[in-house]
């Protein structure tokens, strides 16, 4: 038998299942120490999650599958395996898209394993922390979460877009001189469009009042997707909703939390709790799936005296399509004679289990034909800030997504998450494919207004 | 036992009454390096090259007991020498059947049908005999009795010798006992028949059948003089290249619906005249189509297996060689039997080696001699076609089962 040079111990003599955790190879306690060990035991190693995982689909490597990552985390926690560079890479490559949770028959809560493990891994890391590098500090945490700052920062970028400078820079290769992640950030920008004025504090219901709702507008999305916020508000008005837009609201905190910074995320959450008077609205509505998933999780991310209050807030949070579907949509009448396809955003489909509602709403647009998107449930590679932190895998997945979209023959893609919209737009733009990428609320709004989308 | 001219050159026939006796005979023959020719009903001996080495004939016909028939499990365990007819009658008493067609069922044995992988029109709807053998006992060329599979319908323990021995033509082992999966007898059956003017049109109709709403049990394409004036089908219309026969089985309501539906679909494809053959006519047609490949021991019968979409092209090529050729094709499966009324060895060789075999290869398959007169001298290549790339590994498997090379020497593709 061959033996592995340098292998510390005989791998055949692994501790039997259920052995209490021993000390890790490294001096630091394992990043898994704080995780409820029962969550590891929920995984019976059946492997049904593997091909639901985008990174496994691309690489075919068990280490880059949910089952493999759980196995690695458990091996590190058990002290069987050191937190090597290889192990770190496999865990970092996870999109946290939760497709595996949808596939798992045993109800494994993968998110509750990978998220705290990565947070602890960051905190213990001997090298520069992921959240401490310039990109995270200034761009992700500094810029992304401060809408006003971001709007101002974007002005020069917008101007250069209008002037065709980005195109010119792309063509001359100037763009390639910028650091890769910043370059991607610039490439992500949607085509220049006037954002329009900010939403007012209240948009009153049209017709009989059926509900009173608050709209979450977020940070990144408010800058880049203000037209969609307007569209969402108008659709809600059409459906008899008073729409409140609290002005003190802030970023949901997802970017921080997923990058391993729990404390700033808690502060943002508590600011939002103050901004939204959740007791006096029927629902808090979100049209960006990533933010929605985070807001719905406020109740169990932090264990402190405010937990119950956060849970009460989270109970009111609904995706806008989920809410309209249960309210009963006032049928729009404007015909939109197009063939469209719908991409399930991970944070809507997997994290919030909202899959049929947006499809049912879209089906009510006269003339619109909805065709199935192959691999609709596979992540497009946006995954929050993943497209900025793991550009290579992200690019592979967006290529895969666009290939699937093109297979449908449809030129209209609808999806309920800002990240997916940007990602798919960028991919289409870079490949010269003319594609209308829109939020379902954009299309519903057009139908109510009896307008046609610009293709 | 019907023994044709091609029966192996044997000094005597031994008919053991038990598997143990059979094993002893084989062990003795192995020790003496005497060739052994296992024979069931003797209905499939015209297939392949004639045996040259003299030896013993080993009959399984005394091994004909029903070992176990738990009808409610829908399985039966029988010895290999049981005739297909008596098996059929027994199963019918419980409303069950083995939906595998075998010609000359009164003499053909279940062991022989398995060893030769005999099939007929029903294989389109039901699969072939390999899909029904779930357990097998046999004696290898050393005289060692062994088994594989079991008596349950789902079982993945060990190598699947049920499949390996099916169609092995007695070259690996002598089958002594089998367990079969059964099906319920169909309540009703019928044929829908039409004449088709050209082979091109035939392919169009066959291709449409792939998308049909009906579920055929058999898709048969027949051509040639005798089929054109068949008394059951009636005389063929004036310009008829081939006749298409679609057999359906099932509950009476299903059969009625399918015959109507198929006639409707055909009308839409421009086939105005089609007829339904049911009741006793249907039964007779099933039986006639089942018997066709072995009906005549004279002449030359070739069995080709090609892509289903290439059947009509192959049929056209076969008839171009001789207009009088009689054709039956399980067109859904791509199997074509071509029967030429007469051939001398001089004519047969080029027809096979330069005509039908290349045509079959071009159509994604192969062609082998299924029956020919004993005096027709053929080469290995003429009978089996171009050397199969897998024949080396087949020969090595054969060596493990039959190290002395005594079982059916020279009869198989892979063990000359």
């Amino acid at each position: 038998m061959l033996t592995q040079p340098g292998a510390a111990d005989d791998p055949t003599v692994s501790p039997p299942e259920g052995t209490p955790r021993s000390q890790a190879h490294t001096a630091a306690p394992s990043p898994g120490t704080e995780i409820d060990y029962g969550l590891f035991l929920d995984c019976v190693h059946c492997g049904l999650c593997t091909s639901a995982c985008p990174t496994y689909l691309e690489l075919g490597n068990e280490n880059d599958s949910p089952r493999g990552r759980i196995y690695l985390m458990r091996a590190v926690t058990d002290g069987r395996l050191g937190l090597t560079q290889e192990v770190r890479r496999h865990l970092e490559l996870c999109l946290d898209c939760r497709a595996c949770e949808t596939a798992c028959p045993s109800g494994v809560q993968y998110g509750k394993l990978i998220e705290p493990f990565r947070v602890a891994m960051e905190e213990q890391s001997a090298g520069p922390r992921k959240s401490a590098d310039w990109f995270h500090r200034y761009i992700l945490f500094g810029l992304f979460t401060k809408p006003d700052l971001m709007r101002r920062m974007l002005i020069p970028a917008r101007i250069s877009q209008r002037l065709g400078l980005v195109k010119l820079a792309e063509a001359t290769g100037l763009l390639s001189l910028l650091p890769a992640r910043l370059r991607r950030l610039i490439e992500m920008l949607p085509p220049p469009e006037r954002p329009g004025p900010a939403l007012p504090t209240l948009l009153p219901a049209i017709g009989k009042r059926r509900a009173r709702v608050a709209l979450f507008t977020g940070c990144v999305a408010d800058v880049m997707f203000r037209p969609t916020h307007w569209a969402t508000a108008r659709v809600l008005q059409q459906n008899g909703c008073d729409v409140l837009v609290p002005q003190e609201q802030v970023c949901c905190g997802a970017i921080h939390f997923h990058a391993g910074s729990s404390e700033p995320a808690r502060e943002l959450a508590d600011t939002n709790l103050k901004a939204f008077d959740h007791r006096n609205v029927d629902a808090i509505l979100v049209n960006v799936a990533g933010c929605g998933a985070m807001l719905k999780d406020y109740g169990h991310h932090w264990h402190d005296p405010h937990q119950a209050e956060r849970a009460a807030f989270a109970d009111k949070v609904k995706d806008v399509s989920e809410f309209l579907d249960s309210l009963g949509l006032v049928a729009p009448e404007g015909e939109i004679p197009l063939t469209a396809t719908y991409h399930d955003a991970c944070h809507l489909g997997h994290a919030q289990k909202v899959r049929e509602a947006p499809r049912r709403l879209l089906a009510q647009i006269p003339g619109l034909k909805l065709v199935d998107l192959p691999e609709t449930e596979v992540c497009c590679g946006a995954a929050g800030t993943y497209n900025l932190t793991e550009p290579e895998m992200s690019a592979r997945l967006s290529r895969r997504k666009l290939d699937n979209i093109l297979k449908t023959g449809s030129r209209v893609v609808l999806t309920g998450n800002a990240g997916c919209l940007l990602q798919i737009m960028r991919e289409a733009r870079s490949r010269g494919e003319r594609l209308l990428v829109a939020h379902p609320m954009d299309l519903l709004d057009l139908s109510y207004q009896r307008k046609q989308p610009r293709l | 036992m019907t023994v044709t001219a091609k029966t192996p050159p044997r000094s005597e026939t031994q008919s053991p009454a038990t598997a143990e006796e059979l094993a002893e005979i084989v062990a003795r023959a192995a020790a003496a390096e005497t060739a052994l020719y296992p024979v069931g009903g003797g209905t499939g001996l015209n297939f392949g090259l004639p045996a040259r080495r003299s030896g013993l004939s080993l009959s399984t016909t005394q091994l004909n007991r029903v070992v176990d028939y738990p009808a409610r499990d829908m399985t039966i365990t029988v010895e290999a020498g049981r005739s297909m007819q008596s098996l059929r009658e027994l199963l019918a008493t419980q409303g069950q059947r083995l939906p595998v067609d075998a010609p000359q069922a009164d003499t053909a044995t279940i062991g022989g049908v398995i060893a030769t992988a005999t099939s007929g029109p029903r294989r389109f709807g039901h699969g072939s005999i390999r899909d029904f053998v779930i357990g097998i006992s046999a004696v290898d060329g050393r005289g060692v009795a062994f088994k594989a599979g079991g008596r349950v319908v789902k079982n993945v323990a060990g190598y699947d010798f049920c499949k390996l021995l099916t169609g092995s033509r007695g070259a690996l082992a002598v089958i002594t006992q089998v367990t079969l999966k059964l099906r319920p007898v169909a309540e009703s059956t019928a044929w829908v028949v039409c004449d088709i003017a050209s082979y091109e049109k035939a392919e169009t109709v066959l291709a449409e059948l792939v998308r049909s709403a009906i579920v055929p049990t058999a898709i048969e394409l027949v051509a040639g003089p005798a089929w054109e004036r068949d008394n059951l089908l009636g005389p063929a219309s004036g310009c008829c290249a081939a006749r298409l026969l679609v057999g359906v089985e099932g509950a009476a309501v299903e059969v009625a619906w399918m015959t109507r539906q198929l006639q409707r679909e055909w009308r839409e494809q421009g086939i105005a005249d089609s007829q339904v053959i049911d009741a006793s006519g249907a039964a007779e047609l099933w039986s006639r189509l089942c018997e066709f490949p072995v009906e005549s021991a004279s002449g030359l019968t070739v069995k080709a297996t090609v892509r289903p979409s290439a059947v009509t092209r192959f049929v056209a090529a076969a008839r171009a060689i001789d207009e009088r050729a009689l054709i039956q094709s399980h067109a859904g499966n791509g199997i074509v039997y071509v029967r030429y009324p007469e051939f001398t060895a001089n004519e047969a060789l080029p027809v096979l080696v330069r005509g039908l075999q290349p045509a079959a290869v071009a159509a994604g398959g192969h062609a082998v001699v299924y029956q020919c007169p004993a005096d027709l001298e053929l080469t290995h290549q003429a009978v089996w076609g171009p050397a199969a790339p897998a024949s080396a590994i087949m020969a090595s498997v054969k060596k493990q089962f039959d190290p002395a090379g005594i079982l059916n020497p020279g009869l198989s593709l892979f063990a000359c």
Partner: protein, 479 residues
């Protein structure tokens, strides 16, 4: 000594498949130490990811040159340790050979590479009116190459058969590195039925690099029913009555009271908790005949004392019924910290008997056992509940599992209907087969795999196979 040659082997493998196609760091190999069977573990020395058959050939030749064992692996969902690299060596991971090469509806076949996930083929066929029939419950993850290795089944095998009934041919790399085709798109190829032998050979004869599969027409319609019974005997009698009446259901699944309670607690389907057994019965085929079959089934269930027979009135209700069946195992996880699923087969008529024996065995060993059966096939999946941290329970679960499988053999059945022998059930081969049977199997293996480097110590208890002493039962989900 041999270890000194590992770096050279790794270099040579990299030259074949590229740097990103070889894993050799220990921390990259740990996840390959087991599959869905976690009792025995062993790391391979190298994992290699070929993309073409030619690369597989080159890898196999290198393994021979370096005299190291090697074995193929697909998605690693085997429940019997089929992918356990006994003796280490080179693991050939086929997950990058994942193209559907051809779909031909006219000739009703598809050609796929071994790493294609089972359900991808069905998805690719959506809307064509055809599908690939074998549908193991793990079909969302397991590969067709793996299905070929284990001759996978699924809930629909009663009517449609298992993998071997749908494989027309395979292209495979033999243990000496030769590439061959067995069978192919035309049926009845002359010579031996080697595709039939390769299917179910658990990777001990050859590494399959391409598969020709038969496609099956979609049924026109379905009728899905749920029969609720006061006793297990009534339910099993109903099964026999249905099959005896000449009906071949597309699926016939049984769940006993124990699993019913678990499913109900988890999903609230509204099942009566005092029912002793429920049958999920599905017939499919031509609309013209379905109502007649449905009425007959309902009548037969009632005649066998069914308390109630519910009919799925819509596609959504049908899905709900199947969901309750397919998620049964997930629900079991809520009943106990650990569980072990067995895979035995008995003749259908022996179902009431084996169930009695299982209850008795569970009582004697003080182990709670709940049951899900592919009742139409007589394929039983008793699920033994325990706490793996309790050594005594672990010992009792092992003893009870062994006794259940012994009972299956005594009933004329088998110790595996669909999971395979792998390493898990090697010791049962002596009970199922005689020394002569096993000798012939070993000889066949030898004719393909004379050096024994391919998948050593799998399936056959021959020389080189260590007698695995089970320390611990498996904790498994799907089947």
């Amino acid at each position: 000594m041999i270890a000194t040659r590992l770096p050279a082997l790794v270099d040579r493998l990299r030259a074949v498949v590229g740097d990103d196609g070889v894993l050799s760091a220990h921390s990259d190999l740990v996840v390959y130490e087991c599959d869905g069977f976690v009792i025995e573990k062993n790391c391979p020395d190298v994992a290699v990811f070929p993309r073409t058959a030619a690369q597989v050939q080159a890898i196999v030749r290198l393994c021979n040159e370096f005299d190291v064992p090697f074995l193929p692996r697909g998605a690693g969902t085997s429940l019997a340790g089929g992918c356990l690299p006994v003796g280490g060596g080179v693991m050939i991971v086929l997950t990058r050979m994942k193209e559907i090469l051809e779909i031909n509806l006219r000739d009703r076949y598809a050609v796929v590479q071994p790493g294609v996930v089972n359900v991808w083929l069905t998805q690719a066929l959506k809307g064509t009116g055809y599908h690939y029939a074998p549908d193991p419950s793990s079909q969302g993850a397991c590969t067709i190459g793996g299905n070929v290795a284990t001759n996978s089944g699924g809930p629909h095998t009663l009517k449609y058969g298992v993998t071997v009934n749908h494989v027309l041919g395979v292209e495979a790399v033999l243990p000496d590195g030769t590439l061959v085709e067995f069978g192919g798109l035309s049926e009845d190829q002359p010579g031996l039925d080697l595709p039939g032998l390769i299917v179910g050979s658990e990777g001990t004869l050859a590494i399959v690099t391409k598969v020709w599969v038969r496609l099956t027409r979609d049924p026109q319609g379905w009728r899905t029913m749920l029969g609720i019974f006061e006793s297990v005997a009534d339910a099993t009698n109903a099964i026999s009555a249905i099959i005896g009446a000449g009906i071949v259901p597309a699926a016939l699944e049984m769940m006993d009271q124990g699993i019913l309670v678990a499913v109900e607690e988890a999903f609230r389907f509204g099942f009566p908790l005092d029912a002793q057994a429920i049958l999920l019965i599905e017939v499919d085929g031509l609309e013209a005949g379905l109502d007649q079959q449905r009425d007959r089934i309902i009548e037969l269930c009632r005649a066998n004392n069914a308390r109630d027979v519910r009919l799925a009135a819509s596609a959504a209700e049908r899905q709900l019924l199947w969901k309750c069946r397919k998620q049964a195992f997930g629900a079991v996880g809520r009943l106990s910290p650990s569980y072990c699923t067995q895979d035995g087969v008995v003749p259908r008529t022996k179902l009431p008997y084996i169930l009695e024996r299982i209850i008795d065995i569970g009582r004697r060993h003080e182990i709670r056992i709940v049951n899900v059966f592919h009742a139409g096939d007589g394929n039983i999946h008793p699920i033994l509940l325990f706490d793996e941290r309790d050594a005594d329970q672990v010992r009792r679960v092992l003893a009870a599992s062994g006794e259940i499988l012994d009972e299956c053999i005594a009933c004329g059945g088998s110790v595996t209907g669909e999971h395979g022998i792998g390493v898990e059930k090697i010791e049962f081969m002596h009970k199922l087969f005689s020394a002569a049977d096993l000798d012939v199997m070993a000889r066949v293996r030898h004719s393909f795999n004379p050096a024994g480097r391919l998948s050593p110590a799998k399936m056959l208890p021959t020389a080189g196979a260590c007698g695995l002493e089970q320390r611990h039962p498996g904790r498994r989900a799907a089947m």
